[in-house]
């Protein structure tokens, strides 16, 4: 079984982001970038499938600028076998990313595509579902457990009220949630080994996909700030304030 796993380069989750003064976006120059945390979980799951003998090859794919290669290297150090970078310096929106992935799926014929449930920059939560739709494949989103069977997979999903288990035919697209696994740290020898693993670089044009953005960003602004509150000395004062000042209890 071949697994394609998506790895997106995003602003590190610890960074306190700043909106650009001209309101065109968020400051990303000189900001620490990392692999989208959900994608680390997707890579971990793919590598575990390989270690268990279920998967035979794990291919890490990123779409974005040349530096996204570093993100692919991280995936290779975690245990992916090879990488594909689809290079683009433009704003790739989820529909475009899904179409590019579809073109790669047509080329690579994987049995499973694993993605993050959302990227922590744009928080769209759509790319996996879109890819599944375009491929006519089933989708198993927000995964907290993956069990690959013969021609189908039993997938447990985090839903509003708790957990749901579905059976989907293979091939399928899975998007992973936070509690599927805890991603490993790459060891130094594995980081060294990853430097020798192959990364193929493609241009968007090679895949013959229309990636024109459908949404234009009119403005990016700071959210309204909350007014500073007060510290209360004790529980009695707190209850008094809630009852008589805020009048919420």
């Amino acid at each position: 079984m071949k697994v394609l796993v998506a790895v997106k380069r995003v602003v590190d989750y610890n960074v306190k982001i700043r909106v650009k003064a001209d309101k065109t976006g968020v400051e990303t120059a000189n900001v620490k970038m990392s692999m989208n945390p959900f994608d680390e979980i997707a890579v971990e799951e793919a590598v575990r499938l390989k270690e268990a003998g279920t998967a035979t090859e794990v291919v890490a794919v990123s779409m974005g600028p040349q530096q996204a290669q570093e993100t692919i290297r991280t995936a290779l150090a975690m245990g992916a076998d090879r990488g594909i970078l689809v290079k683009s310096d433009d704003d790739l929106q989820p529909l475009a990313v899904a179409k590019l992935f579809k073109a790669l799926v047509d080329k690579e014929s994987p049995d499973l595509v694993l993605m993050g449930k959302q990227a922590i920059d744009d928080d769209s939560n759509q790319t996996g579902q879109m890819l599944a739709g375009l491929l006519g494949w089933p989708q198993a989103t927000f995964l907290s457990k993956v069990a690959i069977g013969d021609g189908s997979a039993t997938m447990t999903r985090e839903i509003d009220g708790g957990l749901e288990t579905v059976e989907v035919k293979m091939p399928c697209v899975g998007t992973v949630d936070l509690r599927l696994n805890t991603p490993r740290y790459a060891s130094l020898p594995n980081i060294m080994k990853a430097k020798k693993k192959p990364i193929e670089t493609l241009e968007v044009g090679d895949l013959g996909v229309d990636v024109a953005p459908r949404l234009t960003t009119v403005a990016v602004e700071e959210p309204p700030a909350r007014q500073a509150g007060v510290m209360v000395p004790d529980v009695a004062t707190l209850v008094d304030k809630l009852r008589n000042e805020a009048k919420v209890i």
Binding site: Q126, G161, L178
Partner: protein
């Protein structure tokens, strides 16, 4: 403009998120049809007909839609999608799971989790865990949108009397099937629509101690929430998680106990009307968003709070 709102419901009644999506639809402006699909969902369709401003309810009652599996549900929506300029669903599991599939098959973008409507093409949505607000304009003929429930008032519900029409089921793509579910059962109000939410974090220290949060919540008629750290540690079930990747809540009162206030947690609760933080670390970032902060050991403060509320 013709607008389709996909209802979130439990077969007997519509859920709150549907009313928020309805408000967004009214702000866009146009003729609003609500789709209720499920198994034995007639009562929910009748309930949807009572929402103010709805002109028609489409009811598709079939076992195929019992669990809103994305593959058959998207196929159903696609049988009618091209009749509308806007397709809206609440940003709950159902909407988040199904609508991007619909959008891709219509070859249009999805605008996720909107928190505001500027005009029929232009919407506001939070990005970077709500640390920035993007205003985006869509060039697509059909706008597919999920709506953040906490950001819109609930449409009036009760007086409407729209007609309910049957909609035929679509062909089953046969890609997926439902196996089972484990739902956390609770008498408490639902997290995303509760007036008061009491949340516990890693500071609770254990699943047993987490019961302090539940006792306090019950005293206030509140829903219970948790930080990711508390959920990961097994103190609370996953569907209690509040934050960027959990539930987004905006109650009148949010009480955070033993929660540090990481940006990913703040993303899910900072629009609450009144925020109370109880934490023993006076430097905890949660205090920066709290209206009332109490620096205290929670194991003393929470029982004292319970006692004070009881008196």
């Amino acid at each position: 403009m013709a607008i389709l709102v996909i209802a979130d419901h439990d077969n007997t009644a519509i859920r709150q998120g549907t009313l928020a999506a309805m408000t967004a639809a009214q702000q866009i402006g146009g003729d609003v049809t609500v789709l209720v699909a499920g198994e034995g969902c007639r009562a929910a369709a009748d309930d949807a007909a009572k929402i103010a401003g709805v002109s028609k309810v489409l009811c598709c009652d079939s076992p195929l839609y019992a669990h809103h599996l994305a593959e058959p549900f998207a196929a159903l929506i696609l049988t009618i999608a091209r009749d509308y300029s806007h397709i809206l669903a609440p940003a709950v599991t159902m909407g988040k799971n199904t609508l991007p599939r619909v959008a891709a098959l219509l070859d249009v973008a999805q605008i996720s989790d909107i928190s505001g409507v500027v005009d029929a093409d232009t919407f506001v949505r939070p990005i970077y865990a709500g640390n920035a607000m993007a205003t985006v304009k869509s060039a697509d003929a059909i706008k597919v949108i999920t709506v953040r429930g906490a950001s819109f008032d609930k449409a009036a519900h009760g007086d409407g009397s729209a007609a309910v029409e049957d909609l035929a089921a679509a062909e089953d793509p046969g890609l997926s099937s439902f196996v089972g579910q484990e739902l956390s059962s609770s008498e408490r109000p639902e997290l995303t629509s509760a007036r008061v939410v009491v949340s516990g974090g890693r500071g609770m220290g254990s699943a047993e101690n987490f019961h302090h949060i539940e006792t306090l919540a019950d005293q206030l008629g509140a829903a219970v929430g948790a930080s990711r750290a508390a959920v990961d540690a097994g103190y609370a079930p996953n569907d209690f998680q509040v934050g960027q990747t959990g539930k987004i809540v905006a109650p009148e009162l949010y009480i955070a106990v033993g929660i540090s206030g990481a940006i990913q947690h703040l993303a899910g609760m900072k629009d609450s009307k009144v925020i109370v933080a109880i934490n023993k670390d006076e430097e905890a970032p949660i205090f920066q968003v709290a209206d009332y902060g109490l620096v205290a050991d929670l194991f003393e403060a929470v029982p004292a709070l319970e006692a004070a509320l009881a008196s």
